[in-house]
């Protein structure tokens, strides 16, 4: 088909218009609004007002908020590391399973998505509570004398986040492992590499896009899932998401909430760039494949 007749196709034109309109209205404009808001001043009546200022960004290094960000990054980081530690071998094992079992295993992984994550977070609360299932079991078995404090700890938040976000780590990793050709591993072995050397020089570089993609899908949401911190974390275990939510809904400081959102967006941009670079390195040009 020539370019001319392509341009004339009304369906094609309509589709393109729809996509562009969608992207502009629901992606570009909101982002511009958020970025613009972050540079404005707070107003008690209209929420935002002039003058333009970088005050919101300056306030982020205020120890009060900075500590929250660092703590949030810490919890999200631990969550990501845990997801990666379990998810990497998990994805590898699924990719090594018999082909007819693989869809079933992936199905089991995705099955929890059928229940709303908020509902599942409340379910976790029932497990973690002082009179919850875990403590009852530990008491019955005589492992502990009095209930452990699980709920409202940093550990509970990390456990909740890890549980909710684990599939997001496994999915892109599974994709890169199924792409990993067996003859690459044999070639490495054939050329004299031990199992560890093959892992380090061949498997790891070839699965890096999946790792970054998984980190992207776990780390950023982990910093934003405020309801997990609300339900499981108590007052001291806040996420960036809690800060943003508080600024918009409670403190009514829109510019500061917007600035915190921009921070998350920037973090995402950095990770996306890393993913792009690592994919290029192994010669992948189809970037939609794992992301």
């Amino acid at each position: 088909m020539s370019a001319k007749s392509q341009a004339k196709s009304p369906f094609r034109t309509a589709t393109l218009w729809l996509i562009w309109t969608w992207l502009i209205v629901f992606a570009l404009l909101p982002n511009i609004l958020v970025i613009a808001t972050s540079f404005l001043s707070r107003d008690t009546v209209d929420f935002i007002s002039l003058p333009v200022t970088i005050d919101s960004y300056r306030r982020m290094i205020d120890p009060l908020y900075f500590d929250v960000f660092v703590h949030s990054l810490w919890m999200a980081g631990i969550t990501t590391v845990l997801c990666l530690l379990f998810g990497y071998p998990f994805a590898w094992l699924i990719s090594k399973a018999k082909p007819r079992w693989q869809p079933l295993l992936m199905m089991l992984l995705i099955l929890p998505f059928w229940t709303n994550s908020l509902v599942r977070t409340y379910a976790l609360k029932l497990l973690f509570a002082n009179n919850g299932l875990i403590n009852k079991l530990l008491l019955t078995l005589g492992i502990v004398d009095k209930p452990l404090d699980i709920l409202y700890t940093q550990g509970a938040v990390i456990a909740g986040l890890t549980y909710l976000l684990f599939p997001f780590m496994v999915l892109p990793l599974y994709a890169v492992f199924t792409d990993l050709r067996e003859d690459m591993l044999l070639a490495s072995k054939d050329l004299g590499a031990s199992k560890l050397q093959t892992f380090w020089h061949v498997v790891l570089p070839l699965t890096t896009p999946g790792v970054i993609s998984g980190v992207l899908l776990v780390l950023l949401p982990a910093m934003g899932m405020f309801y997990v911190a609300d339900i499981l974390g108590g007052a001291r275990n806040l996420l960036v998401g809690n800060v943003i939510k508080n600024q918009f809904l409670d403190a009514r400081d829109w510019p500061f909430g917007a600035a915190a959102s921009v921070l998350l967006t920037l973090a995402m941009a950095v990770l996306l760039w890393a993913y792009y670079a690592s994919s290029r390195r192994i010669g992948k040009t189809d970037f939609n494949e794992v992301a």
């Binding site: 050709r181 003859d183 690459m184 044999l186 070639a187 490495s188 072995k189 054939d190 050329l191 004299g192 590499a193 031990s194 050397q197 020089h201 061949v202 570089p205 070839l206 390195r281 192994i282 010669g283």
Partner: protein
Amino acid sequence: MTDPLSVSVSEPRLTATDPDVLLRIAGIKKSYDATEVLTDINLDIKHGEFLTLLGPSGCGKTTLLRLIAGFEQPTAGAIYLDGEQMAGLPADKRPVNTVFQQYALFPHMTVAQNVAYGLKLKKVPKDEINTRVSQALQMVQLEHLANRKPQDLSGGQQQRVAIARAVINRPKLLLLDEPLSALDYKLRLQMQSELKRLQRELGITFIFVTHDQEEALSMSDRIAVMKDGRFQQIGTPIEIYETPANLFTAKFIGETNLFQAVVKAVNPEQADLNGKVTNGRIDVEVCETPDGEQWHRNLRRPAFDHKIQVGDTVNLLLRPEDLRIYDINDAAHQGLPGEVVESNYKGSTLDSIIQLHNGHRVKASEFFDEDDPSFDYKMGELVKVSWVDGWEWVLPEEDSNSLSGLDNLAATAPGSDGS
């Protein structure tokens, strides 16, 4: 299938270590679960030899290669390399390298890094790595692409990188698993001669796996023909082509016309005037001509093991170029009558397909004679088909299973390899 020749296919076991032998495969068996994919494989490969494992897909040739490489362990039997037992020695410890079918180049490394990989793992000093990498790339004429990524290279170039990456480690034995199958026809021919050149220059022993009989014939010092996990025949390309051990080999290598004949008389061995004992001769009757006339021919007595007796049926194999076609009215020559159903001018030869009156189809390939203006056939022209005395190859009758499909052989296109 009961193979009367399977015994003669196994090479004799030498008890003492033979200095000529680089690789000895002794009584190898390989089974997956209950399925036996390799049965009683015995083979000696000499230093500097170019040996080809040839067979249809699923015949076990790639499995045998993986056993030699050390990717898998045999169920029974042993492999000796330079007199050393390879059992338990993993692939990364064997002085053997492989060129994979899909090349298996590492996409995150440049061409030079790919080639350097084996040396880097062996902790060879950096200067030496650099020298040897550029030598290896020079050898495959790719120095100018050293810093490219493999995926930016053409198929033929990737193939060369894979070869350089393997031979830079100076293996005692290079295994090539259908390395040319991903290339187009012209490039394949070019890489065939390039591989031969490399093998001569490097003096490395090559084991080459292919299902392409033309490739096998043109490149190998020896060919091992495989079917159903067994060797059917091991020999030079000429031996394999001229004196196939059984119908399978005859059918798989090149094109074959098959005539069945009944033995009418067996003449004993006799000494000629010089006292040399000849093999004796047999009288056979080849099918029958439509007028009921029996066509007798007197043949050299075949070399196969068991005794040939009057009344036995034998298979006469004739390559298309062995056949002669005469006019139906040519009184000077005898032959099987038939009509020409296809005639293709191939430049140097004229290839004709003749439907014999006894129901078989044969293919004849005659050298084009420029001085004969009438050297051409009309469709449906009646002819007689015969062959030059002594050019037939006689094989014993095999059970009907292995015969099926042979009648149509002559009609298959040149270059088809039955895989």
